[in-house]
């Protein structure tokens, strides 16, 4: 049976998803991007094909997406992750109207209609602490991983205000508060709230409409998800049975299948 691939070349990780003619996901891999996009693209594709039990010859079409989509060295068209995210989200959750993708490098909010078509999108402003990098940096300086950060955040009773205009300043603020003996939980929750309020401004631009799905690395952070839910006053759908980072790659694979027809 023929298969189709979607490759998402992001700043932090490169993802591949393989689907078959029955639109089933038969292979999915995530690897670190490194500096050589071509190498990562090749590696993640062959790893995903192996998982799918397919050979290179079975692969009928590829679509690449993400920032590295033009330099994968693979044969196939490139599509933006905005479209691919929409397609992927709609595939699993056709009731979704707003998709929030919180990645390492950027953050996007995408409005889709009932048929999964993109009707509007907004990306994070320049000079904004509105990306996954914000939390990653500070987690590193606190010697915590993101999962731990998320857990601490949801269990915190209070949140301390942390600047959300600049990652570097926020880091300084965190260090200063810790040295003043302020509670870590409050700081961590404050950080999640700061990032959530930046993301919230993107969603608000699109006009909130149920239901809302979150994907990307940020979706794995329960602290962040919780703070965004509090701000929008609605619960957020998370991709079921799939690493949330794979949504755009799924969308790309689906488009690859359509393109091959």
């Amino acid at each position: 049976m023929g298969v189709f691939a979607g490759i998402d070349l992001g700043s932090t990780s490169t993802k591949a998803v393989i689907i078959n003619e029955a639109n089933q996901v038969v292979g999915a891999r995530i690897i670190s991007s490194g500096r050589d996009y071509r190498k990562s693209a090749e590696a993640v594709l062959s790893s995903a094909l192996e998982q799918a039990g397919s050979a290179q010859d079975d692969l009928h079409n590829i679509i690449t997406t993400g920032y590295g989509r033009f330099i994968s060295g693979l044969e196939g068209k490139a599509m933006t992750e905005i479209t691919c995210c929409a397609v992927g989200a709609h595939f699993f959750h056709p009731e979704v109207r707003v998709v929030i993708d919180v990645g390492g490098q950027d953050c996007k909010a995408i409005k889709i209609d009932a048929s999964g078509r993109v009707v509007n999108f907004s990306l994070n402003d320049k000079c904004a602490a509105g990306t996954g990098r914000f939390l990653e940096r500070i987690a590193a300086s606190l010697d915590l991983d993101l999962d731990e950060m998320g857990k601490i955040s949801v269990e915190a009773d209070t949140k301390l205000p942390i600047s959300n205009t600049c990652t570097v300043f926020a880091e300084t603020e965190v260090i200063s508060r810790i040295s003043n003996g302020e509670p870590l939980e409050g700081i961590v929750r404050g950080l999640h709230y700061a990032l959530a309020s930046r993301i919230y401004t993107l969603i608000v631009r699109l006009k909130i409409e149920k239901s809302i799905l979150m994907c990307g690395g940020g979706a794995k952070n329960i602290g962040l998800v919780h703070e965004i839910e509090q701000l929008i006053g609605e619960s957020i759908t998370l991709p079921s049975n799939l690493d949330p980072r794979l949504i755009p790659a799924v969308g790309a694979a689906l488009r690859a299948r359509e393109g091959a027809a």
Partner: protein
């Protein structure tokens, strides 16, 4: 409770205070932006004018859908809080022709909140000719007609004169407070002055006058503190955060003077009494030294006089990150202040809920260089 305690309490919860006042007096409240709007007109029509500022400390969220990031964070915060219903006690707003963000409000506010009463007033900008003053006077008359229509009254000349007297007295009292800051050991700090001004900008003026009178007496009787490490002046647009003043004064210096919209610019002029009210107001309000109506040269004069009178050791230009009119004047002002006054100058950028650590560093650097 002393007068100082009363005014501080108001300043610390302006939202709560105004809600209570609105409920008690029933007088409709009209918000104004900037010190260039002749509030006497609003007062004379039986309404309660208040200066609009962000009243709660909360990240800007809703406003970001309408106003992009490269606009003053103070105005974005005001808009954010308007959308969030923070100004539930407000019945309308008067917007001056100032910068484009405020001009946007003239349309944007009506667009998003069509039920609100919104009116705008142009001014003479940089021109101080008779022609320009005459135009400004006509604009003030138009504002008066709008206020009358809104309030359902017809304001008499007597009411105008009374309003001018009340506001003149108010400005005089605030200047008297400032006069005390010329002392070697000022009886109140910059942060206390901030509280006093911010409360005064929203209180009923007659009540405010009584309180200020009382406060001046209290300040004269206050036990002397210690001489500040350095006497500083701040120059900038709307400084709305007490923590900014506290951060500056944590260096051991004291802010003894200012050139800000939330300080002296609001009350450094006096309206001629018993004259034709619109022309008198126009003439006086055209001297308010906001950068959007004033040339850099005239601003230099204002700043220099204040720096000399208040024996200032250094000047901190505290400019909102996206305030272009203040930033445009800065290169000229910095150079001239250095050469003509020989005063050290530093520039700090402020942002709504912005981080104060960089500001502290710069101010401490300035104070150390002064105290050496």
């Amino acid at each position: 409770m002393s007068g100082i305690e009363q005014i501080t309490r108001i300043a610390r919860d302006i939202e709560g205070y105004l809600k209570a006042v609105r409920k008690k007096s029933g007088k409709r409240m009209i918000g104004v932006m900037h010190p260039v709007v002749p509030q006497e007109i609003i007062y004379a029509a039986g309404l309660h004018p208040i200066r609009l500022f962000p009243l709660i400390r909360e990240p800007i969220t809703l406003a970001q859908s309408h106003l992009h990031t490269y606009t003053s964070s103070i105005f974005r915060a005001i808009w954010d809080q308007t959308l969030k219903g923070v100004y539930s006690f407000l019945d309308g707003v008067v917007l001056p022709e100032s910068c484009e963000t405020v001009t946007f409000f003239a349309r944007g506010w009506q667009w998003h909140r069509p039920g609100d009463f919104v009116t705008a007033i142009a001014g003479s900008r940089f021109k101080k000719t008779e022609n320009a003053i005459d135009f400004f006077a006509k604009e003030i008359r138009s504002l008066s007609l709008a206020m009358d229509e809104f309030s359902g009254t017809k304001t008499s000349n007597g009411k105008f004169q009374e309003a001018v007297q009340v506001f003149n007295r108010n400005r005089e009292l605030l200047r008297m407070v400032y006069e005390l800051r010329k002392n070697d050991i000022p009886p109140l700090s910059g942060s206390e002055t901030f509280d006093l001004c911010m409360a005064s900008f929203v209180m009923d003026k007659e009540e405010n006058n009584r309180l200020l009178d009382q406060i001046i007496g209290e300040l004269n009787a206050r036990k002397k503190g210690t001489k500040p490490k350095a006497r500083l002046m701040v120059s900038g647009p709307c400084l709305v955060d007490r923590s900014f003043f506290e951060a500056v004064e944590s260096s051991g210096a004291m802010i003894v003077a200012d050139d800000t919209n939330t300080g002296s610019r609001s009350f450094w002029h006096t309206v001629v009494e018993n004259g034709e009210p619109f022309a008198s107001l126009a003439r006086s309000y055209s001297t308010v030294p906001c950068p959007f109506t004033t040339s850099a040269e005239d601003r230099l004069r204002y700043i220099s006089n204040m720096a000399k009178d208040f024996k200032v050791d250094g000047i901190i230009f505290s400019v909102e990150k996206w305030c272009e009119s203040e930033k445009m004047d800065f290169p000229y002002l910095q150079k001239e202040i250095a050469t003509r006054l020989g005063l050290p100058v530093t520039l700090v950028e402020t942002e709504y809920l912005g981080d104060l650590a960089p500001i502290r560093t710069r101010v401490e650097g300035l104070v150390e260089s002064i105290s050496k």
